[in-house]
């Protein structure tokens, strides 16, 4: 699925402007790294791309469809079925095993538990955690936890994968492993947008958006 932002402005209460007139067109299957210092609006852009938040003004189109008039339920449906998120802080549930954490990722698709678990196992195998299915997050290393989070995002085979500093909490070796998994998924045709402040990681992407103070200052293509 393609994602397109047109003149997007995002202001938070208290007069903070996180995004100023951002326009960007990410075609279906595109792989984009977003680079920039802290506070440059990277995460805000990602949440708007993922329809978690609505822009103050401007248009967001997903697969060519306008999302500004969509209801909360319609956007939730889009996220449930088509968008996968990966966060820097993993956001795994400590009380659940790896399989159940991944299966919960498909909770709101309405798929029955048996099917969700089957897909979850499959996804964990894909990220190389087939031997950790019943482990709790506490029993996993940082890299493994992030791979569980990635499995949760990809198990439903989303058309768009959005990752916010997925390697930020990891050492370089685990980080490299996580990136390999993400690139591999990207080659399956999913649109991938990844936030990083690591120029080296960004260098592995065919297209890099450089952000500063809520604006895209450079759209760099390899």
């Amino acid at each position: 699925m393609s994602v397109e932002l047109t003149d997007v402005v995002k202001e938070y209460p208290g007069g903070v402007t996180a995004l100023r007139d951002v326009s960007v067109d990410i075609p279906a299957g595109g792989q984009v790294a977003v680079v920039g210092p802290s506070g440059s609006g990277k995460t805000t852009m990602l949440t708007i791309l993922g329809t978690l938040e609505r822009p103050t003004s401007g248009d967001v189109r997903v697969a060519g469809h306008d999302t500004t008039t969509a209801s909360d339920g319609e956007l939730a449906g889009l996220r449930a079925h088509q968008i996968g998120f990966v966060f820097q802080a993993f956001h795994l549930q400590e009380s659940m095993s790896a399989v159940d954490n991944v299966a919960t990722g498909m909770l709101y698709t309405g798929a029955p538990l048996g099917r969700r678990r089957a897909l979850a196992r499959e996804a964990l195998e894909r990220v190389g955690l087939g031997h950790r299915l019943d482990f709790r997050p506490k029993q996993l290393s940082g890299g493994e936890r992030q791979r569980v989070a990635i499995a949760r995002a990809i198990a439903k085979r989303p058309a768009i994968l959005l990752a916010d500093e997925p390697t930020g909490n990891l050492d370089s070796k685990s980080g490299a492993g996580v990136l390999d998994v993400l690139h591999e998924l990207g080659s399956d045709g999913a649109t991938l947008v990844l936030i990083t402040h690591d120029e080296h990681i960004a260098g592995g992407f065919p297209r890099r958006l450089h952000m500063r103070d809520g604006e895209i200052v450079e759209d760099e293509r390899a």
Partner: protein, 419 residues
């Protein structure tokens, strides 16, 4: 998925894409079973906290169930006692005649009633208006102690189902002699607690030998403050007219109403309206029912405990929402609508309180059981309480969860994820 090109009239938008509504991206769904699972999961991860906040509801509901249970048990006990005494006792007494004057029952009414079909036994009493009881002749005449003197037939205790705590009742053998039987209250007033060894009381101007003391008469407590002498003695010594002041009638168990309907005309064929017929067990049952009404004050205390419990749950849920911002944000990212989030917290809160309600029911039933066992009363918890207790918990929980649920749904997912 093709873009639709429309010539924009506004000028700013020259190309408008189709709305997401038309796109087949799939719907966000949370079937009830999954909702229950999510709510249970939420409670399971915070067991101690869930248990403590459910305890508040359990105590409130337990108190209310106990109040209802204890009063129902007491009531059931009373009704069982009344049933043991028999509900087929009827009393016939003179009412007021057509002109509003006090009527009198004719002496003939006693044999007339005794001959009625379905009357199993009957016992008349005759109230003496000119006699008082004293312990000795030295007691001032005006200190009557409020004790009445009645003449009675020897089968009175049997008809009333009354027992004697000491001695025996009047008998055909001794009915010519000045013998007296004391009602329980009369005996207490006269400070006589057992017979034997020539216990005497002074009635009119002679001593009477006390031959028996009645136990309290449950079906007619007015007889407790009366002493009984035989009718022949009453006629000889006090010129008592044989006009009964009250006739106690035992009917067949299944003919109570028909007998009651026939009694006035049988007792006084000339003027049935001057005859009053009562069923003492009715009065007692009404009294039992009134006693069974749970004390409003105690119920109020239960309600206060419940309110405190509800506030506790609301409080815990608000804290929970704040603590679980990360989870809320994640669920929104995973495709939960605002409605799903608020439903989740509402379900957790309602489930928590419903569990509290079930435990409250157990606590209340247990308290009732202990109370009933110590007082040898039947154990009764009304059926409605079995349904009402968990339902009340559920409703209270849902109400308590409204605000936290709305708060959770309003949370910005981005902010929640940053937390």
């Amino acid at each position: 998925m093709t873009d639709v090109a429309i010539e924009g009239s506004s000028g700013r938008r020259t190309r408008r894409s189709s709305s997401l509504r038309d796109a087949d991206v799939g719907r966000a769904r949370l079937p009830p079973r999954e909702l229950l699972g999510v709510a249970l999961q939420g409670l399971r991860t915070r067991k101690l906290r869930a248990a403590l906040s459910a305890l508040g509801i359990a105590i409130g509901i337990g108190a209310m169930v106990a109040v209802v249970g204890v009063s129902s048990s007491a009531q059931a006990n009373l009704i069982a006692e009344i049933d043991a005494l028999g509900t087929n006792l009827l009393t016939v007494s003179p009412g007021t005649d057509f002109l509003g004057n006090s009527a009198v029952l004719a002496p003939s009414s006693v044999p007339m009633i005794a001959h009625m079909l379905n009357v199993k036994s009957d016992a008349p009493i005759y109230q003496l208006t000119n006699a008082n009881v004293y312990r000795t002749p030295f007691v001032p005449a005006e200190q009557t102690g409020g004790i009445g003197v009645d003449a009675a037939s020897e089968n009175l205790p049997k008809v009333l189902g009354a027992g004697l705590s000491s001695g025996h009742f009047l008998s055909a053998v001794g009915q010519r002699y000045p013998e007296v039987v004391l009602g329980s209250q009369a005996a207490a007033t006269l400070q006589i607690n057992q017979v034997g060894g020539h216990v005497l009381v002074y009635i009119g101007n002679r001593y009477f030998n006390v031959i028996g003391i009645l136990k309290p008469v449950k079906l007619d407590s007015s007889l407790d403050s009366v002493v009984f002498i035989s009718l022949p003695v009453a006629e000889r010594l006090f010129q008592q007219l044989p006009e009964p002041s009250e006739i106690y009638v035992r009917s067949g168990q299944n003919n109570v109403t028909s007998v009651a309907n026939l009694l006035p005309a049988t007792a006084n064929p000339q003027d049935p309206s001057g005859v009053s017929v009562n069923r003492p067990s009715d009065v007692l049952e009404a009294r039992a029912a009134a006693k069974g009404q749970f004390t409003t004050l105690l119920l109020g205390l239960g309600a206060v405990a419940l309110l405190v419990g509800a506030i506790g749950i609301a409080n815990i849920m608000v804290i929970s929402v704040l603590e679980r911002r990360g989870e809320i944000g994640l669920r929104r990212a995973l495709g939960a609508t605002r409605g799903h989030i608020s439903l989740q917290f509402l379900a957790e809160s309602a489930l928590l309180a419903a569990i509290g309600g079930v435990f409250g029911l157990l606590i209340g039933a247990g308290a009732t059981e202990v109370y009933a066992a110590t007082r040898h009363e039947p154990f009764v918890v009304p059926t409605y309480a079995l349904i009402a207790a968990p339902c009340a918990g559920f409703l209270i929980g849902a109400l308590a969860g409204l605000y936290p649920a709305a708060k959770a749904a309003r949370l910005s997912p981005t902010e929640a994820l940053r937390a």
